[in-house]
Symmetry: C2
Subunit: 768 residues, 2 copies
Amino acid sequence: MMKNYIKHNDWKIIEEGFHPEFNRNSESIFSLGNGRNGGRGNFEEKYSGSSLQGNYLAGIYYPDKTRVGWWKNGYPEYFAKILNAANWIGVNIHFDGKELDLAKMDIESFTRTLNMKEATLCRNFIASFPDGRKVKVSSKRFLSIVRPEVGVIKYTVEPVNFDGKITITPYVDFDIKNEDSNYDEKFWVGQNIENLGNEGYLTAYTKKTNFLVCSGMKYNVMVDGKEHAVNIENESCEKYIESAFSLDVKQNQEVTLCKYGVNASSLYHSHTRLMLDAKETLNEAFDDGFDELFDEHSAAWAKKWESSDIKIEGDVAAQQGIRFNIFQLNQTYTGDDERLNVGPKGFTGEKYGGTTYWDTEAYCLPFFLSTSPQNVSRNLLIYRYKHLQKAIENAEKLGFKNGAALYPMVTINGEECHNEWEITFEEIHRNGAIANAIRNYINYTGDRDYLAPYGFEVLLAISRFWAQRVNWSEQKQKYVMLGVTGPNEYENNVSNNWHTNNMAVWTLRYTFEAIGFLKNEHPDVYAETCKKTGFNEEEETTKWLEIIKNMYFPYDEEKGIYLQQDGFLDKDLKPAETIEPAERPISHHWSWDRILRSPYIKQADVLQSLFWFEDEYEKSLIEHHFDFYEPLTVHESSLSPCVHSILAASIGRPDKAYEMYLRTARLDLDDYNSDTADGLHITSMGGTWMSFVLGLGGMRIRNGEIHFNPILPEGWKSYSFMVIFRGSELRIEVNTKNVMISNYSNKSSTVFINGRKISFQQKETLTV
Amino acid sequence: MMKNYIKHNDWKIIEEGFHPEFNRNSESIFSLGNGRNGGRGNFEEKYSGSSLQGNYLAGIYYPDKTRVGWWKNGYPEYFAKILNAANWIGVNIHFDGKELDLAKMDIESFTRTLNMKEATLCRNFIASFPDGRKVKVSSKRFLSIVRPEVGVIKYTVEPVNFDGKITITPYVDFDIKNEDSNYDEKFWVGQNIENLGNEGYLTAYTKKTNFLVCSGMKYNVMVDGKEHAVNIENESCEKYIESAFSLDVKQNQEVTLCKYGVNASSLYHSHTRLMLDAKETLNEAFDDGFDELFDEHSAAWAKKWESSDIKIEGDVAAQQGIRFNIFQLNQTYTGDDERLNVGPKGFTGEKYGGTTYWDTEAYCLPFFLSTSPQNVSRNLLIYRYKHLQKAIENAEKLGFKNGAALYPMVTINGEECHNEWEITFEEIHRNGAIANAIRNYINYTGDRDYLAPYGFEVLLAISRFWAQRVNWSEQKQKYVMLGVTGPNEYENNVSNNWHTNNMAVWTLRYTFEAIGFLKNEHPDVYAETCKKTGFNEEEETTKWLEIIKNMYFPYDEEKGIYLQQDGFLDKDLKPAETIEPAERPISHHWSWDRILRSPYIKQADVLQSLFWFEDEYEKSLIEHHFDFYEPLTVHESSLSPCVHSILAASIGRPDKAYEMYLRTARLDLDDYNSDTADGLHITSMGGTWMSFVLGLGGMRIRNGEIHFNPILPEGWKSYSFMVIFRGSELRIEVNTKNVMISNYSNKSSTVFINGRKISFQQKETLTV
């Protein structure tokens, strides 16, 4: 099942020798993105083999009519999906009328390389036509991280053993569709075309959402490195432009096409200015030229790596894996626009639709907090703040009142997209994850003022939801929460999911604290917010305190275990290792009812709470629960192992921590779950980062101070990672003998290593 | 919401004045069927207004590709649906080229009448073209209950105030589709056409299932009652034949078309013989003529009514309602073919697909047991016996082994069609209903030998299922059944549904008894069956006895209540009458999660068991549970009120019993749920019959003897009903003063009235 054709290398992802059978897989892995645009590692030239063509523009979505078997009240009508946008990379190559198409040629050598350090995708190959004529091609492509609407391709072709006529046809194709379209609909409507000489543009708008996009190209040609004039023939039809030229070339002559692309959307331009702006952007890039674009691009990436790189010595596969995760996270989200978020597949595939799951708050936020400027993670929070009204409307659809908010399970614009009742309506712990992200952000950054009023407004609406979602059980004489689905989606519609109840009570408590803070520090903001939200503090908080005091938590006295939900101990609690290997993953082999009544846990559930609120529990309690739940956990979500890894490290189980770390470190590179072809598991990459820095590195923030309790996996010589913490730029290096901390910033700092407080000066390095 | 345009009448359903806004509703109500063929009350002539054209052939289905939002392991690939078959009733009428179409005419008078006594559908109308020319039409149509492939239409047209040329175009149209086709596919492929003069045939086969159907017509023409020769023009195209003629008619001249139709399928004929057989059948009918066909048809219906009629004096609406239910049940299922069953919509609409739900066993079997020869209900049981292998395969798909069977929730051919996991995989009490039908049949008929081996094989496979479906709870030290949905579908994936646990234990016990019976009475059959099924009696029954002894039943000591499921008392137990009327039915107004966590019960659940096993419980216990559950029951399934009605009667609550009886008695006639347009609630009609005979009539079978405890609703003068019981044909008449029992059979009989034993002779009537 696992694939093993990607060559191990510190900084590069390398496919050596073409693997057409894995091409869709490779296309995902070799994806490029710059936070605004992105696309799969498709070939520039025609490829008639299996391929999923994919180019995506951040925030440009289509509300596809939903498809369900049996409608339930409350289901959303639409399922918003990120659209496949114009194919701007296309370049068709013909020699004397014969098309270059690797699916139909004899391939002598082939290398596809993703250089993560400089964020470029390169290909080199030599291939022969059936008649024996041999062609050599090399291409290099990148999406500028500095100019987010610009991409460039340098594409060189050389006839190896013949003279002939080459025809090169750069094109932009907007006549594309989504493979996952529910009703085989095309989502784009062509609007405008300009196509003259070496420069062409087309605009298209999306049905229903009316986003306008302009995609364009401009190019120049070199022969043997020298600029070369060509006669161009332009062709256009609806949603398609091309601009072809032909040259007579001799054996070993190199023809280089340098194609500059622009993809601009109405998210950043007015409809009327869009094409003009796109032209301006493209011409500026064209005039600056490939080298300048590349230099500024690679310099910006170097800066990103400076603050986010993790180095591992002694294990190239691990080194490659962790860098790949960091690289893809940085390609997906740059944090400069609070309307955007981290899609579960980023810019690497269609699957899942939507862009935002609770994954962002639970698994990605910590990465951006530690490796990016503060505003990047703040924008992730503001994203949810801006969706608050929609979350209130979403809760209203389900019968809630008075400003209670239920954030959607999956969303792009704040509206719910998901449509399985047991998830959409019941997996409400996501509300807790969104509240907890506020705490996490404030704990990390110290920016308590975020509560005034953004954080508070969100907390208030979520607290109102919890207060209405519980009900009083006469029998238990406690508040209960019925009919929920916890993070462990292998249980549906359960009662008193411990994690959900815990998140509810915690939110109420934290909101209560926030009120105290606001009343002291921002009384005017507080008064204004109360008015705006109709918040009746006394009445509402009285109810909250009642709930905090009287919430029911399933607990087994005899075992001393918080139960995942009511009735959990009625299950046949055989450890997961007793499942026949041929029946793993159970999601592929067992019917849904069998999974549901089994004790097997898809992803951390009680342990998720113990991880988030670690400091509230004795270590022995965490250990006891880890030992109870870990053997029942099948980790069939890529978001699961990281939590177990972090907890294992913190209770002194380095081997388990490392084992769990490895479960996701190379998830996509090795196609562990046989689904990388659909796109990369972007949000899970945040989890992998967490299991490294919080797990192996043991990083924690306590009372505004940063702690590390590092462990070094066996076989590794050393590792180091970078974190930004309240203005300090810290590098922690761990080797077999000691721990070295460097402070790269102009600020003195305090750090705890294994509980020992260490103060050090700006730009100082200490060894412990 | 409720409609009130159907005129009240003892034996007829009458629409006086055309109601185009309710036409789809009327088409359902005025449906005709003869157990093999059936169709909606569509007009013969063209109607361009809203209409759902529908003609259906028993057992002819198509496995439409299923449609789901998110696939779950174990879902069936296909959803078998009864197909809309050829429109054989069509007759287009033109006067001087102008088409008769009630949607475009001025209607002076209109009556549509379903005569339930003789099973005919008649229409009479006078309508004018826009130019003032007035036409009078009368039609009479029936589907022969004696010749199940034959239908006849007598259609008379008269120009009221003009002379002109009339063109009459009888046709058969096979180019039809299902409105509920999942992917807008047409399911029929045309094969053969013969169309010559006044006689035409076409055959078409179904994709995938390859059923072949031949539909044909033959007609003659009369003018003012006298046979009249006409010049015929035949036209055919793919899947369509017509056979038109024109006449010059004078004012007040009557032109009568008598169109004979045949619809024959490969269920009853070889593919090669089909058209020949159809021709023979049709020509025989044609030669016998309308009057003879009608006489034998109405005589056969008179016989049906003899054994099944219920008479009510003093309430015409009630009289009409109960006869409509009996009539439709008899139109839907005649019990002469064990491959057929009672579809939830019969031959009256497309909705739901499949034909067989547990409705058949739970709500329809009692009707057929009491009103039809024994082989009719036996065939309903044999239907399931023949599906046993498929039920075993269905259970295997869900991970069960060793011959365990899970009967499908919805089926035509034994394969599961339904695809909501909480129903398909979890609403397993249906297995209990199928087992209980065997008990019910044997109790009623005394035919214990049905167990050898049919009944036993089914019971064994179901018992094996239960034995694997439970698991041992270490905590409870009991067997539990996790993750089920009870009859109350407003709860999903609950644990220890009391009714399901009860059905499981009862099945095991009953199967155990059956083994004893077989060993004594049919040792050879038993030995053979053990061999065939690999039944290890000692090992398997040991486990069964363990389960019988140690099954967990949720019970609240304090309240003395069997709980519908674990945790039921955690709900906010406000009675249903506290729900805002504007929010009823809650299924239309509340989101699914809100319904699930509410205490509201869609249909009898604990009470279903108490009804089935009434004799095992004290009356006071039943009363106590009725008082607990009835106020929480919203009866949003048409299958719910009957159980409550029967229980209410038996605990001495005649008013409640009558109130519940009324809930479904005129469900379709008054379109109580605003969904009659989709088709009639055929299986629910069995429930209505039950609430009459078992509820008001208080009929029970105990130890092979028949009991009645009748109550007479206020305002009624009297009622009487017929039942066949072990060879006796009994008529029970109840009036304000006494109860009269007649024994119409040639057999002396014993009956208990209000607990008093009464013995009487053949053909005797006694008054109590």
